[in-house]
Structures are given as C-alpha cells and as structure tokens.
Symmetry: C2
Subunit: 185 residues, 2 copies
C-alpha cells in the first residue's frame, strides 16, 4: 500500500457463536442485559468511534445501518464513510461516499493520506475480500454474551490459516469482550 | 438434575473463527508462537485440570485424545473420564469409563455425588446435545490467536438463542483468551 502508516482494522460485533447478523436483521441483541462486575464502563458508539478516521463498508451493511438510523441515529457520526457498491444508491448523508471500484483501489488511491485509523465494519463478504487480499492489519472483535444460534457468520469460510498476535483485550460492564489482534504474515 | 450442586461446564479450545479441530486433526496450532505482554502465565494442562472432578466426552474426542497421548501423554491425567459411546471400545486407561446410555442419564444417575466440577470437553456433536437438552451450566471457551479457515466448528448450528452471563475472562501470555459464561434461562 502507498501509505504504510495507515492501520486498517476489520471491526465486527458478534455473538459467542460468531454470528454478526440475525436473519431478520433485528439488532436488539446488541443491548445486552448482562452485567459484568469487573468490566469497564462502555462508552457510547459515538465515543467509541472518535478514534476512527474513516469507515469502509459494503452496501448491504450501509443499507442496514441507514435503516437502523431511523430509530437509533446514524451510528458512524460525521466520520467519512466509503460504501463499496456498483449500484446507484441515493446520497442521503454528506459523510458517505459511494465507491464503485474494488477495495484495494479504494485503499491505495482514495483514502486521505492523513487518515491513520481506517475501520472496515462489514459485512461478511467484504471481510472475506479484505482477508483474501491481505488488506487489513488488525481484527477487532467484540463478543456479546449471547448465542444467537442462526444467522450470518463473521467467518463463514476463510479457507486459509492466518496467525494472529493478541494486541489487547478488554471486558465491559455489559458483558462484552473486545479482542484486538494484529494479522500476521 | 438430582444433584443441584454440580456445575457442568462445556470446555472448548477454538481458533478465532470458532474452529475446534482441523480436518487432518493436527493439533500443532495449540502451541501458539504468540506472546501477549500483559497476559498471565499459562499453567500446564495438568495444572489446569486440577479443578476438574470428572470429564465427559464423545467417542471421537476420546479416540483423538488417545492418539495424541502417544506423543503428548494423556492430557486428562487420572481424573475420572466418561466416554459416551455405543461402540465396543478397548479399555486402555483405568480412569476411563465407557457409557452407552445418553448424556442426561449419565449425569443424573452415574456421576459421583461428590463431584462438583464436571467438564464436557467435546466434540461438536456432544456440545450440541448438551445445549439442546440444557445439560450444561457454563461454557468456557479458550480462543487461540489464529484463524484456521477450515475445519470442525464449535457451534455448527445451535438453532436457538441462548442468553449468557460473562463470569470471567483472562488473557494468557501465549495469546490465548479464556471466556467463561454462565448459560442463562
């Protein structure tokens, strides 16, 4: 990549059984009723995203987030957001840019050189692309205290072995555990 | 269950993508080359299992462990171990008992009332049975810092939602993260 200082992180929230979306797209499971005494207090999604300079997502994830924004607000705030899509989607938010090329071209030629902290936030298909093409440096997985039992998997089929380095782990009061890994090799 | 004081724990070691066994059964990935500065030192499997009064496993897991014992020793030590199987397996270890009934009968009628801490250690099929029949109280998942990409999943298809309570989490120097959950409801 041109800009070696950028860190591209695949970020995902999953259940313990590795599911990132229910078949009906219901997201009530994000609001866990759990309480973990020893956990850190969980900052709001807005607080959480302050460290992120730019988001990348697939069009299904975008449309889902847009749908959710009617009830919960747009979770990515004013942070520049690239949506990878070849479809003609309607511009609804000033922070969103639609990009019809591939992920590698986007990263190499269109990311602002000042951006250091880029998060790819879904979905499963784009995760697969990022892993296949070695586009990501980190994986940050937040595991919620639930087994969903059915739905879309974070890792449906990776098909190759990838060694990781555990960089950090945190547990939150809502029972969520965050695992942060560097992708090696 | 008769004995309400017993805690039955499903214990599994998986990759980040939720795989518990490679297709070729190779277990070299258990020996992670990772180093996590902030992690606790990892006690040996023998040390680890001192807290366990009894193991339960399926016959495939048993045969796999027996195969591995040629190189690494029998990892479950002298701890009483029940193997659920309808097959006529050869008795090779004094600590192992073959049981041809179902898991529920084993737990209700054959566990020593003095045993408080029973671990079900695999495989995927027996995990499914324990979850389907609500036989387990806890899940303890140890995630190693690797994506395996292919193999047998811990949670292949649970098919129902199960709320969990995060009881504890620990990170080890070898990059392994342990998640311990109470199964609710």
């Amino acid at each position: 990549m041109n800009n070696r200082e950028v860190i591209i992180t695949i970020h995902m929230v999953s259940s313990l059984d590795g599911i990132i979306a229910k078949r009906d797209n219901n997201v009530e499971w994000f609001e866990t009723p759990d309480h973990y005494e020893k956990g850190e207090s969980f900052s709001s999604p807005e607080e959480f995203s302050k460290a992120v300079d730019c988001y990348i997502m697939g069009s299904a994830t975008y449309e889902h987030a847009l749908e959710l924004s009617k009830d919960y607000g747009w979770v990515y705030g004013d942070t520049p957001t690239f949506v990878l899509t070849s479809r003609n989607l309607k511009q609804e938010l000033p922070s969103v840019t639609f990009f019809s090329g591939d992920a590698k071209t986007l990263i190499e030629n269109h990311l602002n050189p000042a951006w250091k902290n880029v998060w790819m936030v879904g979905g499963a298909k784009l995760t697969q692309t990022f892993i296949d093409l070695n586009l990501a440096h980190e994986i940050r997985l937040n595991i919620l205290p639930i087994i969903l039992g059915d739905g879309l998997r974070f890792f449906e089929y990776v098909g190759k072995e990838i060694p990781l380095h555990l960089k950090d782990t945190k547990a939150y009061q809502n029972g969520m555990v965050e695992l942060c890994y560097e992708i090696k090799g």
